[in-house]
């Protein structure tokens, strides 16, 4: 086991770095998509609303793997050619964003009515009311489920290996193919994924929850 790590450790680490890059970029895509679609879902303007619903249902109703293959293999036929790295984090981000959009919608609707009325009474513009009053409170409400969603997102990035993005899973598969030491190769990959989730993402999300609660004076 020790000499296995000595020989293949650096490669696994390279793979883990690619996984981290995919995670960060996909998370940005997911947050953006979730915010836009979540707000769009509540819009009074029906084209925006139906577009958001189509996006959410389309990405929640099919598998991530199907979306990944579709974006990578079929989009080029429409003239949109994405390199594998970009196709990878974009599909993972869009998939998770659709789940996130429902969280955004739920959290916004869970902000007490009085807050909306107060915004009205102060004659804030709808945009300002949303930005200064509703969204910050919704954010605190939806952070805990977003923590789970971020773990799902990390797990989702493992699939980009199937379109040959050289991430952790891809490296593990290569090592397995070259050495047939499956237990070590996939075991090491599983452990690294676990450590990323348990010691990086979960504490970071907990910290964010605390900071946001304190900023709203709810610590």
């Amino acid at each position: 086991m020790w000499e296995f790590l000595q020989t293949y450790g650096p490669r696994l680490l390279d793979g883990a770095l690619v996984t981290c890059a995919q995670f960060v970029l996909a998370a940005l895509v997911a947050c953006f998509a979730a915010l836009v679609a979540g707000l769009g879902r509540l819009s009074d303007f029906w084209p925006v609303r139906s577009l958001s619903i189509v996006y959410i249902e389309l990405f929640r109703g099919t598998s991530l793997l199907v979306q990944l293959y579709w974006i990578f293999f079929v989009l080029p036929l429409f003239g949109i050619s994405l390199p594998k790295f970009e196709a990878g984090f974009l599909s993972v981000g869009l998939n998770v964003g659709a789940y996130g959009a429902e969280l955004v919608r739920g959290a916004i609707q869970a902000v007490p009515r009085g807050q909306w009325e107060a915004g009205y009474a102060l004659s804030l513009s709808p945009a300002k009311r949303m930005r200064r009053i509703i969204l910050p409170q919704a954010l605190v409400l939806m952070l805990p489920p977003w923590g789970n969603l971020m773990i799902e997102l990390l797990k989702g990035t493992a699939l980009v290996a199937l379109i040959a993005v050289p991430d952790l899973m891809f490296v593990a598969k290569q090592i397995n193919g070259a050495t047939f030491r499956s237990a070590e190769a996939f075991g090491a990959a599983l452990l690294i994924y676990y450590m990323l989730a348990r010691f990086l993402i979960t504490p970071a999300m907990r910290g964010l929850e605390r900071v946001m609660a304190r900023r709203l004076g709810r610590a």
């Binding site: 099919t62 598998s63 199907v66 293999f73 429409f78 773990i151 030491r181 499956s182 599983l190």
Partner: protein
């Protein structure tokens, strides 16, 4: 822009994809059954009075929940032969999916068991029932209906995760689409049809699950 969708080709491959869909549904059903049974076992084991095994099991379930299912599928499929157990893709895949989702389902069961009022336990104690009898005859019959509303989403989740089984060669929908793609060099029809089939199955199921759960909640007075 060289977009060309061929209806004739799409119609030609549709029967093959639909046959593979049967396998996908079968995989989802078996995986779900395993997860339901294993999840209950885990949920009960998590309430064992011994602290150390409980702690270890909780960590294992946390591990299963926070690592990717694809890697687990590969792990089970390839490590089996290394220790002398050769698993077919189907068996390895079903074990992986069942195990993965049992870690989630165990939490749902746990919540259901914890929702049973303390008085019920005290009544069991008062009637001098054994632990086993308390669970089997008093607690579980009340806990399971309460746990049911959370279960439907995992059925849909398993269904949407079955394409991952294609990586070890289980002949389900995704595998069929990949095969068609590599035989004919046409990807647009197979992959689009796979997406459509998934939508056509998962949207109505999601609706039914929501409806069923609302009915169940009302019936239980939740």
């Amino acid at each position: 822009m060289n977009f060309d969708w061929r209806w004739a080709f799409a119609l030609e491959i549709l029967p093959r994809l639909l046959r593979a869909t049967v396998n996908t549904l079968l995989a989802a059903g078996i995986g779900y059954a395993i997860a339901m049974v294993l999840g209950l076992v885990f949920a009960l084991a998590l309430r064992s009075p011994w602290r150390l095994p409980r702690f270890i099991l909780r960590e294992i379930l946390e591990f299963i929940r926070s690592t990717p299912l694809v890697v687990q599928i590969f792990f089970i499929f390839y490590v089996g032969p290394q220790v002398g157990i050769t698993l077919s893709p189907w068996v390895a895949g079903m074990i992986a999916i069942g195990l993965h989702y049992s870690a989630y389902v165990a939490e749902v069961y746990r919540a259901g068991i914890e929702a049973v009022p303390r008085g019920q336990w005290e009544a069991c104690r008062a009637l001098n029932l054994t632990t086993r009898d308390s669970y089997v005859r008093i607690v579980l019959p009340q806990a399971l209906p309460h746990a049911m509303p959370g279960m439907g989403n995992y059925l849909i989740g398993i269904f949407k995760d079955t394409p991952m089984l294609s990586v070890i060669g289980v002949t389900e929908l995704m595998q069929a689409a990949n095969a068609i793609g590599s035989e004919t060099y046409r990807f647009i029809e197979p992959y689009t049809l796979v997406g459509v089939i998934f939508l056509a199955l998962s949207l109505p199921t999601a609706g039914l699950v929501r409806l069923g759960e609302r009915r169940l909640r009302r019936k239980l007075g939740l």
